[in-house]
Symmetry: C2
Subunit: 918 residues, 2 copies
């Protein structure tokens, strides 16, 4: 028995998308549930693949099955394909699993020829309609199936209209259209060397083959490459009985959405044209009418449509995008599919449908993508204005999309100017630098956007920008920045300081001039707030996880979303966005502030511990105030404060700059105290230089060699905590020790620091709840997590460093030199600094979590690297049984959604029954 290549609509259903494509499966489904679908059938995607595999030959049995199916359609319609007396006409449409530009679209009216056109005229008693249908077939078949350029037909049409003095197509008479058919046939012959096929079966066969071939058109392949759709899916072909919306004023055609795709409101939304074919709606020659008017024009059809709208939504449990035709008063459904919608609509529809009881809250959470949430949170350029700017040639460069959002402002070429303009003069500033340094931060945070010509997604500019939610485009190599002239060149365009630019941190685009933006307000997004609360509830449900080496399941306590925040205002923002704790507060950022940095430098250059402690005492009050604000903002949630992490030379001037200054002074023969001072500083910086500072004297290593700094920090933390506790806040400080590779490092320093903590609490006469714990960011720490958890009360995966060490990639260098190539060449599926490498780094996280909990059951485990805000990585964190993910405040809503989705996906993947939220 031959393989089954063809399915009548009544044989399929909506779950057969793989085989029948999206369109075919939905036509079948509509037929199955009794909606008025014109009879027809679908040729499977397997047939397409077999056709291609055989070198463009129909597989055995296909044509016979097509003929057989056609016979069934003839029976159903009472018409006959190619019968001049009662001709059956069909449309041939492609329909892959995923809709895809570049594929052959639709050929209508297949089955018409010189004889059947006469039959059609007789039957419809409408000569003009008949010839119009025929000329449309020749035109569509010619251009779509045979590849004749559209212009060839358009020219002939225009010529005829000129001859006849016709302004519109509709001004042409039946006679004119009959003449047009003849002329189109000539065009067809000229271009293809053959006559327009009179055999309807020949028409059908060629149209089917054209659909098959279009699967591998250049444009289709490029689209699949770009979107990651596999190349071996193939397309289905739908053969559908023609129905005509252009048979007079009792006929119409239209498209509609079951809800408003722009706002998500539950209103019937769409438009239609009377006496028109579907292509006329799309072509926009006549302006369609809003669907409401159909109620007056064709009340019966309208009522039926409203009913079908209800049926489809109840059936598909999602907003539908439908196509319909009314032929002489009878409604036919030609397509239904889940409708595309804006981010805002997606959220409203999901929430509404859950409230309506149509879908579960879990399903509502699954209906919205993290990107859609993101869209709602960052200022966005008005898309039309952006397109216009591009058309005007105002896009001057593209770079790395380092921190999402849109920003418009005047260019400032240094941090001081940016701060002055931004803070004092209230201007919107875009700070532009070749790259940024820690002492630029005051200017950066006073800016609306950051633009650099060097550095990657982890450059200083990028990290700071993300941290503060400032849109940034970095590494714009097309920009030639001249700091002396205070101007930037991009090709021929020169922009001066004070000129306006617009940067899109979501896409990496840079524009000259202003582009209008749209700003969202989180607290007004009530549907989003609702949805995220559901996501929280779902994510927080206890679950189970499986440790590969053990093959048994153990319970977990659900995944929370925390935030990384260094300043009280970040913490407040994070809390507003729904964070349940601070997973990472970086204390060193506090050292860079203007009044503190000179003290920090003196502290670093101190010759004795005593001298160092003198300066540390000056720093203590600053740190204590920082911590008070943080702890208070988050109470009663925990705040994890990381002790100083970077190498000390980061707080000193750059070696190269000092070297340059000293040499210049020396060559010029200068002498005196300034030179001596600089030389001293140069010597100090040189002594601290490291070959690979990322793996050098920093983190816990620094604390062990020079414990005074962290002792001061712990004192500041506990003084702050005690004061807040006394002020009535239920604060929960957690002290995090970074860069541990061996348990002895932790034991050594933690013992010292706990002493300080206890001493402070005694001095202050108050007890606070606290934890000491560590980052897991070194492979060895993960491998020996059982030992480390014997000391640490919590683990926080620093997945940036952990990824660096596990891959042996220095992120700055890798992103600048080879990582983009790696992803382009498919060597790595994704940038592992953006999406967690589950196969490698993930093994270490799994191992560390399991081993850590084996030695300390209640171990709190989270992740505070940038991956904490990446949905795919969050899914992994859920599976690994982590307690929380911590990300930048602006990613918190996205992470909350992703955490909820992870819980649902995981449940579903295990085939577990979905627990419906009340």
């Amino acid at each position: 028995m031959a393989h089954k290549w063809v399915y009548l609509f009544e044989e399929g259903n909506k779950d057969m998308r793989d085989l029948l494509g999206g369109k075919g499966a939905n036509l079948a489904e509509m037929a199955r549930i009794g909606l008025p679908v014109p009879p027809g059938f679908t040729i499977t995607t397997e047939a397409c693949n077999a056709y291609i595999a055989a070198g463009n030959k129909f597989p055995e049995g296909l044509w016979e099955q097509v003929l057989e199916a056609l016979k069934k359609v003839e029976e159903r319609t009472g018409k006959k394909f190619g019968d001049p007396n009662n001709p059956l006409l069909v449309s041939v449409r492609s329909g892959a699993k995923f809709s895809m530009p570049g594929m052959m679209d639709t050929v209508l009216n297949v089955g018409l020829n010189d004889e059947t056109v006469e039959g059609l005229i007789r039957l419809t008693n409408n000569e003009r309609f008949g010839w119009d249908a025929y000329r449309r077939l020749i035109q569509m078949f010619g251009s779509i199936v045979m590849g004749i350029p559209d212009e060839a037909f358009d020219e002939v049409m225009e010529e005829l209209k000129k001859e006849k003095g016709a302004k519109l197509d509709t001004d042409l008479t039946a006679e004119d259209l009959k003449e047009l058919v003849e002329r189109f046939k000539k065009v067809f012959k000229e271009h293809t060397g053959m006559d327009f096929p009179q055999d309807p079966y020949e028409q059908l066969r060629l149209a089917i083959e054209a659909v098959f071939k279009s699967w591998n058109s250049d444009r289709a392949i490029a689209y699949r490459n770009a979107t990651g759709i596999p190349h071996d899916l193939g397309t289905a072909v739908n053969i559908v009985t023609m129905v005509f919306g252009n048979m007079g004023d009792d006929s119409a055609t239209g498209v509609a959405f079951t809800r408003d795709p722009s706002t998500g409101e539950k209103v019937f939304w769409g438009e239609y044209l009377v006496n028109a074919q579907g292509e006329d709606v799309v072509a926009g020659i006549r302006t369609p009418k809003p669907i409401d008017e159909l109620k007056k024009e064709m009340p019966q059809a309208y009522e039926q449509l409203l009913e079908i709208r209800e049926i489809l939504e109840r059936h598909y449990k999602d907003m539908q995008d439908i196509e319909f035709t009314i032929e002489r008063g009878k409604l036919w459904m030609l397509q239904t599919r889940n409708g595309k919608r804006t981010a805002r609509a997606a959220i409203k529809i999901a929430v509404d449908m859950a409230k309506e009881g149509l879908i579960s809250k879990e399903e509502a959470v699954m209906r919205v993508t993290p990107e859609q949430v993101d869209t709602l949170l960052h200022p966005q350029f008005d898309p039309e204005a952006k397109e216009k700017a591009k058309a005007e040639g105002r896009m001057i460069a593209t770079g790395v999309n380092a921190s999402p959002g849109a920003a418009v402002g005047v260019l400032a070429f240094d941090a001081d100017t940016a701060e002055k303009w931004g803070k004092e003069e209230g201007k919107d500033v875009i700070m532009i630098r070749p790259e940024t340094k820690p002492d630029d931060v005051h200017g950066m945070i006073a800016s609306k956007g950051i633009l650099t010509s060097r550095g990657g997604a982890t450059s200083h500019a990028a990290v700071v920008a993300r941290q503060f939610g400032i849109p940034a485009v970095v590494g714009c190599e097309d920009l030639d920045i001249d700091l002396d002239k205070r101007e930037v060149r991009a090709g021929d365009i020169v922009l001066k300081e004070g000129d306006v630019v617009s940067i899109d941190g979501t896409t990496g685009e840079v524009f000259a001039g202003a582009i209008p933006t749209v700003y969202p307000d989180f607290e007004k997004e009530v549907d989003l707030m609702t949805l995220l609360e559901w996501a929280d509830e779902i994510a927080a449900r206890p679950d189970v996880r499986v440790w590969p080496e053990e093959k048994s399941m153990y319970p977990t306590r659900g995944l929370q979303v925390w935030a990384n925040a260094d300043y009280p205002k970040d913490a407040e923002r994070a809390r507003k966005f729904g964070a349940k704790g601070i997973g990472l507060a970086r204390t060193e950022h506090m050292f860079f502030e203007e009044e503190r940095l000179p003290i920090v430098q003196k502290m670093i250059l101190a010759k004795t511990p005593e001298e160092r402690e003198k300066y540390l005492e000056q720093l203590l009050p600053f740190q204590r105030e920082d911590f008070r604000g943080l702890l208070r903002a988050m109470a009663p949630y925990p705040v994890i404060i990381r002790l100083i992490d970077p190498p000390l030379h980061e707080f000193l001037p750059s070696y190269e700059e000092l070297l340059r200054e000293v040499i210049e002074m020396e060559v010029k023969g200068e002498t005196g105290p300034e030179l001596e001072e600089k030389k001293k500083m140069l010597a100090a910086v040189e002594a601290m230089r490291e070959a690979n500072p990322m793996m050098g004297l920093r983190g816990v290593r620094l604390s062990i060699i020079m414990p005074e700094i962290v002792k001061m920090q712990v004192r500041a933390i506990f003084e702050a905590a005690c004061m807040e506790k006394k002020a009535g806040y239920d604060v929960k400080p957690e002290v995090m020790i970074p860069l541990v590779s061996h348990v002895n490092e932790l034991t050594t320093i933690q013992t010292e620091l706990e002493k300080v903590a206890k001493q402070v609490m005694e001095e202050q006469g108050v007890e606070v709840e606290y934890k000491f714990g560590t980052m897991i960011e070194i492979p060895r720490a993960a491998l020996t997590a059982n030992e480390i958890a014997g000391v640490a009360q919590f683990f926080s995966f620093g997945t940036n460093d952990l990824t660096q060490m596990t891959f042996g990639f220095s992120r700055d260098d890798a992103e600048a030199k080879f990582l983009i190539d790696y992803v382009e060449k498919g060597i790595l599926p994704k940038n592992p600094f953006q999406t967690l490498d589950v196969d490698g780094v993930g093994q270490l996280i799994d191992m560390a979590t399991f081993r850590g909990r084996t030695s300390r059951n209640e171990l709190e485990v989270g992740i505070c690297g940038e991956h904490g805000g990446d949905p795919e990585s969050i899914h992994f964190c859920h599976k690994a049984g982590l307690n929380y993910v911590s990300c930048s405040p602006f990613r918190v809503p996205i992470a909350r959604l992703a955490a909820g989705q992870a819980a649902v996906k995981d449940l579903r993947s295990r085939g577990a029954e979905e627990t419906y939220l009340a």
Copy 2:
């Protein structure tokens, strides 16, 4: 019943060292096998610990058991402790498990007092002997038990001698000695406030307590800290009946070794003194006679000694160090223990004893330490000459002992001078630099020794020196090198270029002037050659290993020793030392040679792949010749050639130097082509700079971005291999791709390179046996080894980089900034770059080996980091089931011994039966 604290000699044996200490166990053993040991008993180490734990109180039952044992000794000897008629005298000696300076030594003649001395005189009929024995007791008891300074007794003795006009002690008469007893008693009273105890039991009790207390003397604690002996072992106390070698000319005392401890020859070796006590031999007041003369003086005792020598060697199966006393013609054995010996003697004795059938070959291999083998291979300073130089104040500095061995030569302050003097003028040169760089190598290899003032054990100087077996002392911070004046200061001493220095790379010492050295010749060390062949055989035996996650055993093929060698002459040396393959040939070293570097630089700076290939074509013949030599030298053993690994900027001038030059020229207002050229180079170098070059664009990453270089290298390798094959050599090239973190990297580049290999073999018309494989030096590679072994035919653990990434330590930075502190503070047990970190890095090696072999059963797995030459690490490699360890040629003999020992240890630890070699 009370705990047993006391063992009579006849109750113990040699296996009770833990309880009875080394001396006690051996005395018991000798008694047990019927040798003439004076009756006595041992107080256990447990008693010592109980005494200390109770706050210096005898535990219950101890004193009673001592008295009981003493009674048994009285019965055995027929004498009575404290009985004036027939007094029993005893010695009290400490005896811990390990011999240990700082512990109380020996008190002789315990039991003498004003009454028993008279009895002794009556019995021996020797008044002088009696009073001499008594004064010795007061002196020893006073100084050793009561802590009276020796000088107090010495002064009194000298005073008396002056009064009596006596020159030697022996000139003093019985009467004089009686007087001395009185004066010593006064000294005793003055210093202790009490009379010398007349009660023999009081003497005994105090002496025992003194031994116990000495366990925790400052010196003993310091010694245990330094040598890693646990503090809870405690010491035993031996109470032995006194026998006297000073009872006349028929009495004597001596020490002997059963073989020559210096050469290992099988001759009876020792010395004795007639009419003397043991302490006189040690004190060196009279010159002892060689043991041979005893044959004439006391033939009967001598014969008995020879017999005992045989018995002891057969019994202990090792060379013994014995103490004996002859009392009135009767031989008494006072001690036996395994004798200390020189490295050469250790080897000869082990080999001889195995040949004599006394021990197995396995045991022979276990009898020699890797350090002893090392001693035999490096030139050594004559120890006496070195001590003399120190006494003369010629030791001017100490640094890091970076590469072992002694070197003497004239100072050269740059590489060109070193090369000129060393190569052309045939001088012995010590090259001195603040630190070295790749373009110094030509001078370094022309030198006998390397001396630097900066850098650690992994600095460029250290690594190159070890590679070439050149002694080196690095990081001598005491040295102030002035390159302009071409002189070096160390405190007040100034040495000029051309002055002679001596450096000891084994100890890190630096001397002004020449110190004579002793050079070994490997091939003349026939015993060592024999021993290492046995070690090879043992190591090569198939074994089993256990993978922790699986709990089942799988077979392994035994561990070979290969060498790391970049040049044919290194390969030849490695082969002479017994290497069975080259585990790592670094191709980039070949790029640094003088005539090649300019081509390499042009290649790197090439603007197009075509231009780059032009220069690569010029490099190809050089590389091909290098590879021909290497492959030929090792045929038919495999040679693993690693493709280019370091970042390209290492081949270009240093950024700082260029920057300095350019700034200087600019400030001076210079212009012209030279400045332009330098600026261009500066720009190129700047573009290649990386934040953390160790983790940047190098290894396979470089090959993927710029495949032309490795294609040239693979072409050179296969052209070389084909040519040598045609010349009749059975060459086995293996191509190693470094720094892989993801299997796709390997797949991408290996596919390209195998094409080149096949093309060359086709061109040359000959097939060679080859492999492609990879370094495992990135944690991710180890974690995903199953995937990687699907492509790689061999793994080679680059444990330097693997340790760096696993710990997150940049070795250069870590050793310079904190690693020494870490080891000193006990945070890390050892420097993990010298001895493999089994707990962390070892897990990855285990995992990768197991997972790799799971997907490719015949996977060849080895290690080529510096750990390959470290005995402890080699032991781990054996247990991990590796096929080979690869180390620098000079470490090969040491590694061979360590590999054999690892196999034996592992078998023994599993309780498996030892297979005796034929």
